[in-house]
């Protein structure tokens, strides 16, 4: 599974960076940066990040 953020929806809330800091961060300009790949053990944190995104912009590819 890979992480995918829909940039059209994301408004750089940054909640995901609090829930899963290993995978999501906001850069110096406040813009979201994230990694597509993650270790299996981190799935829980990725799912937490998906939950806390107020605009529900984070998806797992290979999920549907």
């Amino acid at each position: 599974m890979k992480v995918w953020v829909d940039r059209n929806i994301c408004d750089n809330h940054g909640q995901c960076a609090i829930a899963a800091p290993d995978n999501f961060s906001l850069d110096a300009d406040g813009v979201l940066q994230y990694k597509e790949d993650f270790p299996d053990a981190d799935l829980e944190y990725i799912e937490d990040a998906m939950d806390v995104c107020p605009v529900q912009a984070i998806f797992l590819k290979g999920e549907q």
Binding site: G14, Q15, L26
Partner: protein, 406 residues
Amino acid sequence: MAGLRSAEQMRGAGWKDEIVLVGDEVHPPYNRPPLSKETLASQHSPDEALNSVLLRQRASAAPLTFRLGERAAACSLTDKTITLDSGESLHYDGLVIATGIRPRRLDVPGPTPGRYVVRTLDDSLALRQRLTPGVKVVVIGCGFVGCEVAATAISLGCDVQLIEGSNGPMHRALGGTVSAAMRDWFVSRGLQIRTRKVVTEFLTDQTDPHHQRVAGVRLNDGAELEAEVIVEAVGSLPNTEWLQGNGLDLTDGVLVDKHLRVLGAQNAVAVGDIARYPDQWTDGLPRRVEHWQGAIDTAKTAARSLVADLTGNQPPAPYSSVPSFWSDVFGTRVQGLGVPHHATDVRVIEGSLEALDEGVTVAYTRDNTIVGLVTIALPPARLIQLRSHLGQPLSELLAPTQLTTN
């Protein structure tokens, strides 16, 4: 929403048995924040609107059984049964109370048609149909929902008056100083505001004797305001009726302990807007918090507490999440962290309250310790950078090195 998140978190905590979610709305769990903002301003069909707000559910939590469109009418916490509206009763081993709140209605004379609230998707869609350019709208109440609806209605070309009641815009969340600045800013955006007024009557439309419709409001100073649409945003009532008769403390929501377990019940927790929990950020004073992030955070702790109780294990760490909230008004983000209402002092540490549009950061302190932070018209990253200062002395934040922005 807190119900769904609790179910998912119970799976995460290892619960393998059946999980049933009972909800009286016919829609699957959805996101409420857009209802006073994007949804209200959108041209979407009802189906598109629903799709745009549906909460994504964790695939890993399957299977979950949904009983949508069914209401819990009563329950017995000793027999561990819930009675549905239909008369059917459901037995449970563990109970998550997540029935949230409903808008309070004003108890003053006058007709009902033409009066709206915004809590559900259906509420939002019904109001949206009436918000056409030139329509006269009166919004009563200036908490988040009232302010957001008023701002959205202005953006749609309506003629909007906001009746403040006893306190100014977002006063409870932001305190008096910032609230006063918000008021000036709202006025500069075209909102007409009636400060410190209460509605004493809904006026009746005399031109249409067959249909008793509202035609406006009368205020306590005798003033009459004409309006075709009235929005009541005057606070909330926790949906606790179905829990009555079990000896619980239902004074304001459901009283829980620091692990979010219902006091006076076995194997029951409460989450989201309905949970009144001892908040360590307000010296352990029990309170309810009606913010989106709280629904997710309480679900996580409560699910773990419940699974621990059901499996005979020690409960996890007490609930300690920092309350946080955001609001969007006139396209501007207001974001808060901590407990601004608990502060005794406020200090603007960036920007100016006279120019909210240009970006402002406010620190709220109690005994010189930062207990709350609010940013207005700044990128969310700003608040995340400052997050570590919560609970720390104000002096550290004011140290010159901290003030450099990049």
